[in-house]
Amino acid sequence: MKQRTFEDSHQQQWDTLEGWLDKRKNVAEFPQLYRQVCQHLALARDRHYTPHLIERLNRLVLRGHQHLYQTQSRLFAKIINFIGVEFPQRVRQESLLVGLSSLLFFGSLLGMFISVQFNPNLVYSLMDSGRVLEMEAMYEPKLVGHNRDAESDFFMFGFYIRNNISIGFQTFAGGILFCVGTLFFLIFNGLYLGCVAGHLTHIGYSVPFYSFVAGHSALELMAIVLAGAAGLKLGLALIAPGRLCRLQALRHAAAQSIFLIYGVIIMLLLAAFIEAFWSSNAAIAPEIKYTVGGLLWIIVIAYFILVGRRRAN
């Protein structure tokens, strides 16, 4: 068939398809017409019609392809299912990495905490004296009872969100550098927190410090551990890809570990909320804060161990 005849007989179909695509309309006949145009493209190529015509059909089909194969996002239902079923399942699937990540994070935290008890000067190895004084001023026991107003609470809420979630994201993304970035953020943050906790305990500021951190500690620390596990998964895919090529292994690991990161975002949002509006509230007695903090630890751990087990699909 000559190209002219071909163009003349199908022109109308191409224009119709293009019209639907321009309006992004969902028509019942769309898939059928799209497949016909796919066939036209294949024919045009096989018959060596002009590059211009092939290019035109190629782009038309490309747009149709993107229209037909887009994913329908039912975001709200997905989020509910994620929190209720998928997230704890994914965490359990990665229990080895989560264990490794906790070991690195809590290990360095505890190690530093104990070391500071024996050698208080260690605190200056991670922060300068100005920062140490600032930190001491923040948890000065005399200041207990001094309450922030709601506006400052909101200021801190913004600060915690930006700061903590960014740390979570960096811990994850750093994993792609063959785990190095993740290891750095996990160990550094562990040492830093151990240092702060150890120093404040050593100088006798325990009550204001622990009553402040108790509430949000479960969500925040576990979120960092999970971000670390996700980052380690990325890096390990590159270091030990198994039977896949490195690129494929990385892609698999990324597609799975991103779900942990969704969970990390939710946890850190909750943690920032608790930290800004509950932990900072000096009117609440430390005993209540300890109880709530302990309960949250139990809830978080129970959530990861128990939730989402029944549905087997």
Binding site: Y34, H48, V61, L62, F155, F157, R162
Partner: protein
Amino acid sequence: MLDTTRPVETPEGIELALRVAGPVVRALAWAIDFGIRIIFYIALSFFLNTLGDLGIGLLMVSVFVLEWFYPVLFEVYRQGATPGKNAMKIKVLHESGTPVDWSASMIRNLLRVVDFLPFLYGFGLVAMLINEDFKRIGDLAAGTVVVYQEEIPSLKKANSWGDELPLPMPVALTEQQAIVNFADRVQQLPPERAIELANIVTPLTGKTGEAGVKSLCQFANGLI
């Protein structure tokens, strides 16, 4: 052929060609997006400054959200293109040629921090230059490509090449294709180059110069 098209096979059993976008056009798109965000932050800070600490808190939340999720939201809800990408006529797709979903977009945009290292997308540029599809590290992990947006060219008018003219002698298929391709592209060529090319086949056309170009187009017209 050495070019920047990437073949994708679709479930319909045909092969599509994606034109991948290079580092320069992507850097420009990024710069436009960056500029838009900066202007937005400045405007927002003027407004939120009047609200005291509450305002600064809100500002920090919005800076955080925009810095990390600005590309994700646009890529998922605006057919793969942030305003900057739209201005440069490029967009993000899965390698399969389908629109990006949440996970792929999140992966490629979270890994942006690594691409940005050691400064101004150093790693990203190196990664783009050592693979054939100009993928930065985030694209490699997410399985996405940045391609040019496809505008559908209109069909050429039937007689834009002049009258039909039969070929004076039998010509092999590949040579027929060469003639048609020549006629298809002649308007994009400088006139001197078109004449130069047409002169090569003077034995066929029996003419030189403009007249040669014209008869080649007429032969092509007769062929298709």
